[in-house]
């Protein structure tokens, strides 16, 4: 109660208070936050293909739209391919390391990978003759957000792979044997047996990944500091800057409440789906 409900109630209460005076200002903090370009840049959003920044809210959604399918896809792919491979435990452990390391370290590693001079990505580009494309990927507004999102896939893929591996263990072998007797191809077996039987695992992966993406902060903080400009800012990052740089706990609390409502909404929907399945 003390460690969960008190902070929640206090944060909601704080979101209605003015910076400095501590006076009750109703929904002013919410209105101020929502009207910011760093929260939602409608002008840039209308010209979507002009590139970021679209505002932190849209950036969080882009995390979900891009990162989530990739994590699900690669996790499932690895789990299926490694199922019958000898010594796969070692490979799985190596992949799972991404989830074990602190996200701050993950951000530093990502920054190194994308570095112009020392980064492995640029090293590969040089090696295959694309030297002209070499750049500091996190420095430019058109690439900062997308490279951080794509570069973070390896960090979370270990989680989805492990969940799917556990899910695969739970599928009765009889189903595959029956499909084989009926002459079903491997592809058909995969789509008609494996994927449907992994639905509970998929819901777990989607739910956990989505929550992770909504509260994403550490990697952005280390790799791009939300920049350049507002190009890679996410909600948790602007909440942090408001609270600890701007010393404005009212607006920071308002962002926290918005983030919580979004998270709760997504989570409630997915949990209800899980319950039905």
């Amino acid at each position: 109660m003390v460690f969960v409900f008190y902070p929640i109630v206090d944060t909601i209460y704080m979101s209605f208070l003015e910076k400095g005076t501590g006076e009750f200002v109703g929904l002013d903090n919410y209105a101020e936050v929502v009207s910011r370009k760093e929260f939602l840049d409608t002008k840039r959003l209308a010209n979507f293909f002009g590139g970021p920044s679209y505002g932190a809210l849209i950036h969080n959604l882009l995390w979900i739209v891009i990162h989530l399918p990739l994590v699900v896809f690669f996790g499932l792919l690895l789990a299926v391919f490694l199922r019958d491979v000898k010594g796969s435990a070692i490979i799985k452990t190596t992949i799972f390391l991404g989830i074990v390391i602190p996200l701050i370290v993950g951000g530093v590693v990502l920054r190194f990978i994308l570095d112009k001079d020392a980064g492995i990505l640029n090293g590969i580009l040089r090696a295959v003759g694309f030297g002209a494309s070499v750049r500091d990927w996190t420095v430019y507004p058109d690439t900062a957000l997308i490279t951080v999102i794509l570069g973070s896939v390896w960090i979370w893929t270990g989680f989805s792979m492990i969940v799917y591996s556990a899910g695969l263990q739970g599928i009765p072998v009889d189903l595959y044997e029956a499909a084989k007797i009926d002459g079903a191809s491997r592809w058909r077996t995969f789509w008609r047996i494996t994927v449907p039987m992994l639905k509970p695992a998929t819901i777990v992966v989607v739910t956990m990944t989505l929550l992770w993406e909504l509260k994403i902060f550490d990697i952005v903080f280390v790799a791009t500091q939300g920049g350049p400009g507002d190009a890679s800012k996410v909600l948790a990052y602007i909440m942090y800057i408001d609270a600890f740089q701007g010393n404005d706990f009212g607006t920071a609390a308002a962002i926290a409440v918005i983030l919580t409502i979004m998270t709760f909404g997504f989570a409630a929907y997915l949990v209800s789906r899980m319950a039905k399945s």
Binding site: D136, V139, Y140, G227, P228, G229, I241, F244, Q245, N247
Partner: protein, 425 residues
């Protein structure tokens, strides 16, 4: 035979009692006259932003304090982000690991003071021994001083390798047109990636460079007005747009590198991947500089202002050893400590009694330049404004650096104006 009784039993007891009393009295007297055991002196903790060469010099300075007082000091290097954000979090929780903190942000210091987290410094230093502007920056409305200026640094201009300039027939520019020609000439040299190195970490090297343009093309008063805020000057004013227009033009011409970690940029600068690098006077202490005698600087052509930054000492109210912290605070504020520090290079003393002979040759050259009557030393813009404006300024400049178009420039200035207005109200 009759037994000789001699001294009676009672007498023996009396003798023993007297002896016991004498021994007890002597013991008490010895105990009372014994010098009190020396109390073990605490080890103080100091936080600052300095690492590498700067830290080594500071540790040498602290070594002298330990020699003089017997008080050990442990120094911890903090990143800008950690100090700017982590320390206030600690203090707001009414605790402090550090006894003394060194930070270059007067606005940040006054905010902590207004919240009651610092010990007052008014009676710890002789304010008249320091430049008035340095003291005023950390003085509140009640004339209470909350920090002491330990050392100052200037941002005199663009650093270059003299051998590189000589080998390539380059000369120091004295006009803005000559400066642009120099950038074009450097760019044309084989092996050069870009003419000017751009440092990054959280954005301050970019803001220092921008401030040089503001003062060089708009005058020192423009920077002072921007520090005052929208009541004195808007970021969207024509003069500011002109300055940013010139900067954007040079960025668009690819004369500046993309921002990269500032110390690794010094390595590349010294390896002649870049021709010049705008940096503060601490450049002379950086370990990446192979031979400091081959290093020189030139000011922004025609400038009448130089960005100055002062490293202030503060004592948190919750310092674990406040008495010893005050002792260290006063020692570092004094001329003797500052003389040691400036002798190690890269900085200027703030105390009036630091002799000119204490400076290294290159530092003396910088000092002579910034001490000219035609040059005004102006506070670092983002340090002086502080708060969320600082991170906005850094983030927006990083955007302008890699996307130097008129549209971006206008967006950047609008964002800065918006934040300046928000902070002023």
């Amino acid at each position: 035979m009759k037994r000789n009784k001699g001294v009676s039993q009672t007498a023996w007891m009396a003798i023993v009692a007297v002896l016991i009393i004498i021994i007890a009295v002597m013991g008490v007297a010895w105990y009372l006259t014994m010098p009190a055991p020396e109390e073990e002196k605490p080890t103080l903790t100091v936080f600052s932003l300095w690492s590498e060469g700067e830290e080594a010099n500071f540790l040498q300075c602290l070594g002298n304090f330990t020699e003089e007082t017997g008080i050990n000091v442990t120094h911890y290097h903090y990143t800008t982000e950690d100090l700017l954000i982590g320390v206030p979090m600690q203090l707001r929780a009414e605790s402090s690991v550090a006894d003394v903190i060194i930070a270059p942000w007067p606005a940040w210091i006054l905010e902590l003071a207004s919240e009651g987290h610092l010990l007052e410094a008014t009676n710890l230093i002789t304010a008249t021994k320091y430049p008035t502007s340095y003291i005023n920056a950390v003085k509140d409305a009640n004339n209470k001083i909350w920090a002491s200026p330990f050392k100052a640094s200037g941002k005199p201009g663009f650093w270059y390798k003299t051998s590189f300039f000589t080998d390539n027939g380059l000369s120091v520019p004295t006009t803005y047109a000559a400066f642009k020609t120099l950038l074009a000439n450097i760019t044309a040299i084989s092996g050069i990636e870009e003419a000017v190195a751009s440092g990054d970490t959280v954005g301050w090297p970019l803001s220092d460079t921008t401030e040089a343009f503001i003062m060089g093309l708009g005058g020192y008063q423009l920077q002072e007005d921007l520090i005052t805020g929208p009541s004195a000057r808007n970021w969207t004013d024509t003069e500011v747009r002109n300055v940013f227009g010139n900067l954007t033009e040079l960025l668009a011409a690819d004369y500046f590198s993309a921002p990269a970690e500032w110390t690794s940029q010094i390595t590349k600068f010294w390896d002649e991947k870049y021709g010049i690098y705008f940096m503060g006077s601490w450049m002379t202490t950086m370990s990446q500089i192979g031979d400091v005698t081959d290093l020189d600087f030139f000011p922004f052509p025609g400038t009448d202002g130089v960005g100055g930054s002062v490293d202030y000492l503060i004592i948190p109210k919750y310092a674990p050893h406040p008495d010893e912290a005050k002792e260290l605070f006063q020692w570092l504020s004094g001329a003797d400590a500052q003389e040691i520090m400036v002798g190690l290079g890269g900085f200027f003393g703030t105390h009036a009694d630091v002799p000119a002979t204490a400076y290294t040759t290159l530092d003396k050259k910088v000092l002579d330049f910034i001490s000219q009557p035609t040059i005004h030393i102006v506070s670092d813009l983002d340090d002086a404004v502080g708060g969320k404006f600082q991170t906005t300024f850094w983030a927006q400049l990083r955007l302008l650096w890699v996307s130097p178009t008129t549209t971006t420039m206008n967006d950047v200035l609008d964002a800065l104006e918006e934040q300046a207005l928000a902070q002023q109200t």
